[in-house]
């Protein structure tokens, strides 16, 4: 479904140049759920953003469904891949109702039966019709994230990219969203690529996980490997240890990877 090879991208120029991602390779099968973990600034979001066409100055190839995608995307080519962002407060236009936010993709892509579709997708993400005409400030964080997911789903894409969809949420709300996401995946046979810094969250949703550090993938592992701690790279192990809660003794062995 998704095939990325030799992907690199840098920001800035000259002395200030930052090589955000280097020689990134990735392949995700149809219906698979793939996780990307790593520390802040390791380039996780950058990969996702390049995939959906927010950045266009990358090198390498990205194939979706075997088709290489161009650097400049056409509206039609965007339809099959959608993204959910980290911050539910920042990803909804504050001056638009839920209805307007959800209808817009339909207008852009010229789809009909808008009202029907909006109501249907709202129901799917667990929001009743009473939420249809609310503004974002009338919604809680979890509800907002549901709307953001609904927006991503309304075009019926096959791939959804999730950039830390729960990290701004409360633990209890996080559980609801994670449940929703896995239910949706089952129902629609979606392909997920999910980014997070929380191993447990990624582990919950994804069957395969890549660990990134400083713009490079240092290790790829299966869910089982992760649960059992069967890890090769030192950085990954360190991340794994830290994710298990506070442990003074283990800390002594920590190294700087950033």
């Amino acid at each position: 479904m998704i095939e990325i090879s030799d992907f690199s991208i840098a920001f800035g120029s000259g002395k200030n140049q930052i090589q955000a991602v280097k020689n990134f390779n990735l392949s995700v099968a149809e219906g698979e759920s793939f996780g990307l973990v790593g520390e802040s600034g390791s380039g996780k979001s950058t990969v996702l953003r390049a995939m959906v066409g927010i950045y266009s100055h990358w090198t390498g190839t990205i194939r979706i469904d075997g088709q290489p995608i161009a650097h400049k995307r056409t509206p039609a080519s965007r339809k099959h891949m959608q993204m959910v962002f980290q911050d539910p407060y920042g990803s909804l236009h504050p001056r638009r109702t839920v209805d307007a936010t959800l209808s817009e993709p339909l207008v852009i892509h010229g789809l009909d039966n808008r009202e029907e579709r909006v109501l249907k997708i709202l129901a799917e993400v667990g929001l009743g019709p009473e939420y249809r005409f609310r503004y974002p400030h009338q919604l809680s964080g979890g509800q907002r994230q549901r709307v953001a997911i609904a927006r991503a789903l309304i075009l019926e894409p096959r791939v959804i990219l999730l950039d830390e969809p729960t990290s701004a949420l409360d633990v209890s709300v996080q559980a609801e969203i994670l449940n929703l996401l896995s239910a949706l995946r089952k129902a629609h046979g979606l392909t997920y690529v999910m980014v997070s810094h929380d191993l447990a969250v990624v582990g919950h949703l994804c069957s395969r996980i890549a660990v990134m550090n400083r713009g490079e993938v240092v290790e790829e592992m299966s869910e089982d490997q992760m649960r059992t701690g069967n890890l090769k790279h030192e950085y990954t192990r360190q991340l794994w240890t830290a994710s298990h809660g506070y442990d003074r003794k283990a800390l002594a062995g920590f190294k700087e990877f950033a």
Binding site: R49, P75, Q82, P94, T97, F133, R134, Q138
Partner: protein
């Protein structure tokens, strides 16, 4: 009475319902909530009432006056305020009260024209520069800088010289010299919005840049522009008056407050009311707009309300 309270309370509950049933109700709710927070600001309310008063006076000018303010009564010139002439008469024996009332129409007209010119120009240039960046940004911003660096009155005079005198042209000239700070403001705002996730989300959806510009960015820049415009209104009225005085604005006998001050200023020491009353009119209206703008900022400014 009781029926009345009932309907009004049902309207209120309609306005405050948690889940609006349609887009119209949602919009009304938004406006109502804004209104509530606006209403709780006494200074802003004062401004609102002043502006409302101005509009009413302009609307009902024919009912409020006995003449159109251009009738001269040379035998009764420079008469002090009295029961017959509430604000006295001017150097041509015209009733100043009538002129003030009719002048409110001119003032509103100026405000209206300037607003509908400045806002779109400033917004389009600023948001385009901010969204497109690169060469477009550099070019548009240089042009903006040049307009900004120009002495405003000179620029306005030059425009009027080209367009010819008259109220519309004066307004056009003012607008053409006023838009540049708005473009800057809109650009700065666009720059912060450009990378916000809801704009990215729209792009991912396949929204064209034009769509992003018009449907997503502009509405966000609108409120700060409106606020700035209300706050600038005093200056705009005064500049229009200045142009009128230089013979390039409203043409007599049209009662325009600024021109009234300008032509009445020689009488300040002996017949204080001739320039002072239009001066007070301008003062009150500018103050009204300023207060309103201050209040609007609290209500509309995304930084101070809503959000997180």
């Amino acid at each position: 009475m009781s029926e009345h309270t009932q309907t009004s309370s049902s309207v209120v509950s309609w306005l405050l319902a948690d889940s609006p049933d349609n887009a119209f109700q949602a919009r009304c709710q938004r406006a109502y909530i804004s209104w509530l927070s606006f209403k709780s600001n006494p200074i802003a309310m004062l401004g609102f009432f002043i502006v409302l008063f101005l509009c009413l006076v302009a609307l009902f000018a024919p009912l409020l006056t006995s003449g159109d303010g251009t009738t001269q009564e040379l035998s009764n010139r420079l008469a002090p305020p009295s029961a017959e002439h509430w604000f006295g008469t001017d150097e041509l024996g015209r009733d100043i009260y009538d002129r003030i009332v009719w002048g409110s129409r001119v003032t509103l007209y100026i405000i209206f024209l300037v607003s509908i010119i400045v806002m779109p120009i400033g917004l389009i240039i600023g948001t385009t520069a901010g969204l497109f960046g690169g060469v477009v940004d550099a070019t548009l911003m240089r042009i903006t800088d040049i307009f900004l660096a120009f002495p405003r009155l000179i620029l306005a005079l030059a425009f009027v010289a080209v367009l010819g005198p008259g109220l519309e042209n004066a307004v056009l000239a003012i607008a053409l010299t006023t838009w540049s700070p708005y473009a800057r403001l809109a650009r700065a705002e666009t720059l912060t919005l450009r990378n916000s996730e809801y704009i990215l989300a729209a792009q991912i959806m396949g929204a064209s840049r034009i769509r992003v510009l018009l449907a997503h960015i502009m509405p966000m820049c609108m409120s700060s522009t409106i606020v700035r415009l209300t706050l600038d209104m005093a200056g705009i009225i005064l500049t229009a008056a200045g142009l009128g005085f230089l013979g390039l604005g409203a043409q007599p006998p049209l009662a325009e407050w600024g021109a009234m001050i300008a032509s009445g200023r020689d009488y300040l020491l002996d017949q204080w009311w001739v320039p002072t009353i239009p001066g007070i009119a301008i003062l009150v209206v500018s103050l009204g707009f300023n207060l309103l703008g201050d209040g609007l900022r609290d209500v509309l400014d995304p930084r101070s309300s809503g959000g997180h």
